[in-house]
Every structure is written in structure tokens, then in C-alpha cells.
């Protein structure tokens, strides 16, 4: 039975050898050589150090194209024109499904035709040398971003390739991304990823790990996201990770977002071991964007404003072309610069909003309920507790496509636009907290003159892309 225990060194070596045989480029991974390579990197490329020593929120976009030279050019552009502080390398979908052969075909076709036949950078296929060429070319830290349930080979190659930050985790890259991977399976695989990062850490190469906070990206109640962040942080810490960036996706209510980021930082430091350096990352709105770029800039502006007030360590930016999918590099840079301008204009201002402490207190209480039920479900073991709590529905994520979560809990905004829980299903929560949510949603129903119903949920899901925060019924809105 899988538990929250550190993988022994010999087991680490065994799995490492096994997974490196899954694709030809796995042969080139040599741990000692990799440590020496990391040691040769200048301070400006040490992800954990740059992030942890920053005195204001650092900005990072999303970006990945199949060919190495194109990826270098893209990241140089985002660094130079977008003034990104931290850079990403987003991995393609075939690699996320461990389909390295298909990724290889796509990469070769991209090289032949010049078209972007893959939706990201197939780092496994580029291998250790390809990754190092990228790291050598860009004078900034770079993170691997993906969405891979089984990211073991990707981690082995990108760590050896010089990347010092790796997004994802067994829950956050399972529940929102895939239907049929069991939680036990993804936890086991991510224990290896974390253990490998821990092995580098032991040698002085602190690989930064970043659980994916936004989860399904759609009105996720803050306490659910924070509880999952803490669990993934604990699992990583057990395997020896010492630099952990906990994530949170903007819900659009400034008070709730600031309160949630405060709670994330506080509870992260409280629940994770002292030897872990905890940082936070704020994702600009991950739900549906307006099709209109001008309105999209408004959404980005609100994100920047929230970041200026909450001051997370990092902000993942959106672009005005979010609605269309992958943005041009120009639009990606524009999103960075719009965010930068808002943050730099607002961050020196003292903006203390009433009610943040109360909202933070509520979020913390909710999170503790969820953490308690996880520990209880696992008799003190967080791995077993997580699996059992998701299985019983005591822990749940709204709009989860995975069979590993019930996906029965449903959120809706209250009259102030804060995300509350409309349908609790089997989610574990103290009754008095449930009463608070109920009362808030009831006030909204009164305002709108309609009954609380799934219809509010549906309206809220579309609201921001339609130009509002709260999905009010048409008749009470403006024309």
C-alpha cells in the first residue's frame, strides 16, 4: 500500500533506470554530470534563488513550440519584449500522454515543414543536450510546464537538461487533466519526480517544484485549492524537495483573492516542514475569457491589480488573445507588459481593503476541515488519506473530469462575487461553515429574485467572458 514515505535510494535508482529506457534520449542522463552542469550555471538562471529573493512579484508567461531554435527565439522575445522575469517551456500533448514516438514524428515534421505540428516543446525528444542548449541560450530561469500524469521521464531529462523548476503534482496534474488515471497511480509516479528533485536538492541543486493551483480553472473554491496545494507540498517535502511554490488561480473577487493568497502562504508555511522555502504563485483568471481583446485586457488589468495588493512571489500572466487559444508572441508580451504596468503603478500604494481578514479566516477554517478529513481518512498518512477522501467525496474538485474525483461539488458566486459552495455533495465541512455559504448564496438569490439553482452556476461560468463577474439573470442586468 502506497504511503507518504521517501523512496529509498536503491529504489530511486531502479525506477530511474527503468524509465530512462522508455525512450532513446533517456540514455544520455547522467546524474553526476547533471549536477556539475547545474553548478556551472550563473546565479541569474537559478530558479529557486531568483524567485525566493525577489522583492516584488515576478512575471512568467506560458509558451512552448516544437523546434529548439524557435523555442529559443520565442523565449528571447518574451524576455526582451515582454520583460518576463521567469520563463516557461510548455510541453506538447503527446509527451503529456507519454507518446514519445508521436511527438518524434511531429517534431520531425515541424523541422521539415517549419509548421508548429505540436502544441508545445517535446523536451524528452530534444533530450539532455537540446534542453541544455535552451538553458544556455536564455539568461533567465526557465520552468517546465506541462500537465503530465506520468512525468518521470520528462523530469529525468529536463532536470539533467538544466531546468530548475517543474510544475505539476499527482492531484493537480490528474484531476483537471485526465479521465482514467487513478490517484494512487499518479501519486506513485510523482513521488519519483519529487524524489529525483530531492536528490538534486541534496547535492545543492535546489529544484523548485510548483503544484498547479488553478485545478479545473473554473470557480474553484479557495479552500479546496489550498488543501490540495498543501497535500502536494507535503508529498514533495517528504521526498526531499526544499523549494515549493504553491499556486492559486484568480476567482475575480479582489477581497477573496487576496485573502486566499494570504491563507495559502500562511497555511503553506504552517503545514510544510520548516526546511522548505514556501513561495506562492498567482494565476491570472483561468476561466473563459472574453473573445474581445479589449475586454480581455480588462480581465488582465483586474488580475494585475489583485497581484499588486496581494503581492504573491510570482504571477502567471494571460494574454489578450486568451480566447483564441495559443497567443502570438506579441500578444503574450502584451499581457506581460499590461500586468507589469498595473502592478508597478499600484504596488507602492497602501491598499488595505476591509474584510480581507474575515474572509481569510473563513478560508483557513475551511481548509483545516479538509486537511483534518484527509488525515482522518488516512489514519495520519496523507497519501492514503487523499486517496480515500477523494474516493468518499469528502475531498472533491468542482468540474473535475477525472474518474478519481466525484466532481459533485458545485460552486456559485455570492452577491459580492465571492465563490461559495452551492452543492456540497459529500464534501467534508463543518455545519456552521455550510450555513455561512448558504446565507451568502441566499442573499444573492434575494437580490436576483430567483431561487438558488444550478442556473446560477451556469451563469457564473460564462459571466466573465460575457463581461461581468456575477452571472445575474438578464432581466435584472443592464441591456
Amino acid at each position: 500500500m502506497i504511503r507518504d514515505e521517501r523512496i529509498p535510494a536503491d529504489e530511486l535508482r531502479r525506477i530511474d533506470e527503468e524509465i530512462r529506457s522508455n525512450w532513446s534520449t533517456g540514455d544520455d542522463v547522467d546524474f553526476e554530470d547533471a549536477v556539475a552542469y547545474h553548478e556551472s550555471l550563473p546565479d541569474s538562471k537559478r530558479f529557486a534563488d531568483v524567485l525566493e529573493s525577489a522583492d516584488k512579484p515576478l512575471l512568467q508567461p506560458r509558451a512552448g513550440v516544437p523546434r529548439l531554435d524557435d523555442q529559443i527565439e520565442l523565449l528571447e522575445y518574451l524576455h526582451r519584449e515582454g520583460k518576463a522575469d521567469l520563463l516557461p517551456t510548455t510541453i506538447d500533448s503527446y509527451t503529456r500522454d507519454n507518446e514519445y514516438e508521436k511527438a518524434q514524428q511531429g517534431l520531425e515534421k515541424a523541422r521539415e515543414t517549419g509548421d508548429d505540428t505540436l502544441n508545445g516543446f517535446p523536451a524528452v525528444n530534444h533530450g539532455v543536450d537540446g534542453c541544455r542548449e535552451l538553458i544556455d541560450s536564455i539568461d533567465a530561469p526557465i520552468e517546465v510546464r506541462h500537465g503530465t500524469p506520468d512525468a518521470r521521464l520528462l523530469a529525468a531529462i529536463t532536470f539533467a537538461g538544466g531546468f530548475q523548476s517543474f510544475e505539476g503534482g499527482p492531484i493537480s496534474y490528474n484531476i483537471p487533466y485526465t479521465k482514467r488515471h487513478g490517484l494512487e497511480e499518479t501519486i506513485e509516479k510523482w513521488q519519483f519526480v519529487d524524489r529525483l528533485a530531492g536528490a538534486y536538492t541534496e547535492r545543492g541543486v535546489r529544484i523548485n517544484r510548483e503544484p498547479f493551483g488553478p485545478l479545473t480553472g473554473t470557480l474553484v473554491p479557495p479552500s479546496i485549492a489550498i488543501a490540495i496545494m498543501i497535500v502536494e507540498g507535503q508529498l514533495a517535502a517528504t521526498q526531499g524537495v526544499r523549494s515549493i511554490t504553491l499556486g492559486y488561480g484568480q476567482v475575480g473577487n479582489v477581497v477573496q483573492d487576496v485573502a486566499a493568497l494570504n491563507a495559502l502562504k500562511k497555511l503553506g508555511n504552517e503545514y510544510l516542514p520548516d526546511e522548505v522555502v514556501v513561495t506562492t504563485v498567482f494565476h491570472e483568471w483561468m476561466g473563459g475569457f472574453p473573445p474581445d481583446e479589449a475586454r480581455a485586457n480588462g480581465v488582465i488589468g483586474l488580475g494585475g491589480m489583485t497581484a499588486a495588493i496581494a503581492q504573491p512571489d510570482k504571477v502567471i500572466t494571460k494574454s489578450p488573445q486568451e480566447f483564441q487559444g495559443v497567443p502570438t508572441k506579441e500578444a503574450n508580451s502584451a499581457g506581460l507588459r499590461t500586468t507589469r504596468q498595473v502592478i508597478d503603478m499600484a504596488i507602492e500604494q497602501k491598499i488595505d481593503i476591509d474584510g480581507i481578514a474575515e474572509e481569510q479566516d473563513l478560508i483557513e477554517r475551511e481548509t483545516r476541515c479538509l486537511m483534518d478529513t484527509i488525515f482522518e481518512h488516512g489514519d495520519g498518512d496523507v497519501v492514503q488519506g487523499t486517496i480515500e477522501a477523494f474516493d468518499s467525496g469528502a475531498l472533491d474538485v468542482p468540474f473535475a473530469p477525472s474518474d478519481s474525483a466525484k466532481g459533485a461539488v458545485l460552486p456559485a458566486r455570492d452577491d459580492d462575487g465571492r465563490v461559495r459552495i452551492f452543492e456540497w455533495a459529500d464534501l467534508e465541512m463543518d455545519d456552521d461553515i455550510k450555513e455561512i455559504h448558504k446565507a451568502r448564496l441566499s442573499r444573492r438569490a434575494d437580490t436576483e429574485g430567483r431561487k438558488q439553482s444550478f442556473r446560477m452556476v451556469a451563469d457564473d461560468v460564462d459571466a466573465i467572458s460575457d463581461g461581468k463577474l456575477i452571472g445575474r439573470p438578464q432581466s435584472t442586468g443592464d441591456v
Partner: protein, 146 residues
């Protein structure tokens, strides 16, 4: 007696929000809903429709590959002996395709009704009630007129 609808997102598509809302809407409207979730194959739709003796099969697709995912779907349903009303809705074509053309394409593939991504769940429910000749219950009518 309540009627059963089978609901799912076809192909490799992992967009779950829409069907979650549809599930809630059809349940609230009095239907028995079998939600197959995302990434559902043609065969899984057919099996579920047979197993639950479904009156309707509602297919959702949002990632732009609906046309290829639905090729041969109605033959699979027929071979399994499914005789249900079939609807499809979502972002059914990549790009700025005119919706009337998209509607014709999916009608030809065998769907009884085709909806775009702007459709309210209520419209789909009303359509299904018409197709299955169900009347709203007394309490629902009261809600509607209030």
C-alpha cells in the same frame, strides 16, 4: 415515470464544465441522467444507452474535432439496437464556420438536433420535451410563469 438521458463528451475532449451543467439542468427538469463524463467513446455511449434503455443520447464536444469523432456514430448506435433521440451541441467546427453549415453537416451524420455553444440548457430541455412529447409538471409551469 421519468425518462433517461445519456450524456457525455465524445472523443479525446476533456471539457467537463458544460456537461456538468447539463447534468444538473436535466436532473432538475426531472430526467434520469447518466453522465458518462469526458473522453467518452462511441461504444461507451451505445453501451450506456442500451444498459439504461435511454430515450435520448446527448453528445457534447468543445475542442473542434466533433465531426471526425462522430463519423459512424449512428451506425454504432444502430448496431447496438439503440433507438433514441440524439442531440449534439458545443463548439462543433474549428474556425469561423457559419453555423447553418455545421448544423447540416451534423444532421447528415444522423443527429436529430444540433446546438451551438451559446444554447441555454433550458432550450435543449424544451426541445427534448417536445421530441419526447412530455409536458412540464405543474410546479415547473408555475416556476416558468412566475
Amino acid at each position: 415515470m421519468s425518462q433517461t438521458v445519456v450524456l457525455g463528451v465524445i472523443g479525446s475532449d476533456a471539457h467537463v464544465v458544460g456537461i456538468t451543467i447539463l447534468e444538473q439542468a436535466f436532473s432538475a427538469a426531472g430526467f434520469d441522467v447518466i453522465n458518462l463524463g469526458v473522453q467518452t467513446s462511441q461504444e461507451e455511449f451505445a453501451e450506456a444507452a442500451v444498459a439504461h434503455d435511454a430515450e435520448a443520447v446527448l453528445v457534447s464536444s468543445l475542442y473542434g474535432h466533433a465531426e471526425q469523432d462522430c463519423q459512424g456514430f449512428h451506425e454504432v448506435l444502430e448496431d447496438a439496437g439503440v433507438d433514441a433521440v440524439t442531440y449534439i451541441g458545443g463548439n462543433l467546427a474549428v474556425g469561423q464556420d457559419e453555423f447553418e453549415r455545421t448544423r447540416r453537416t451534423f444532421r447528415k451524420l444522423g443527429f436529430d438536433r444540433v446546438f451551438d455553444s451559446e444554447t441555454d440548457p433550458e432550450d435543449a430541455i424544451a426541445a427534448l420535451r417536445e421530441d419526447l412529447q412530455i409536458r412540464p409538471t405543474e410546479s415547473e409551469r408555475a416556476t416558468i410563469s412566475s
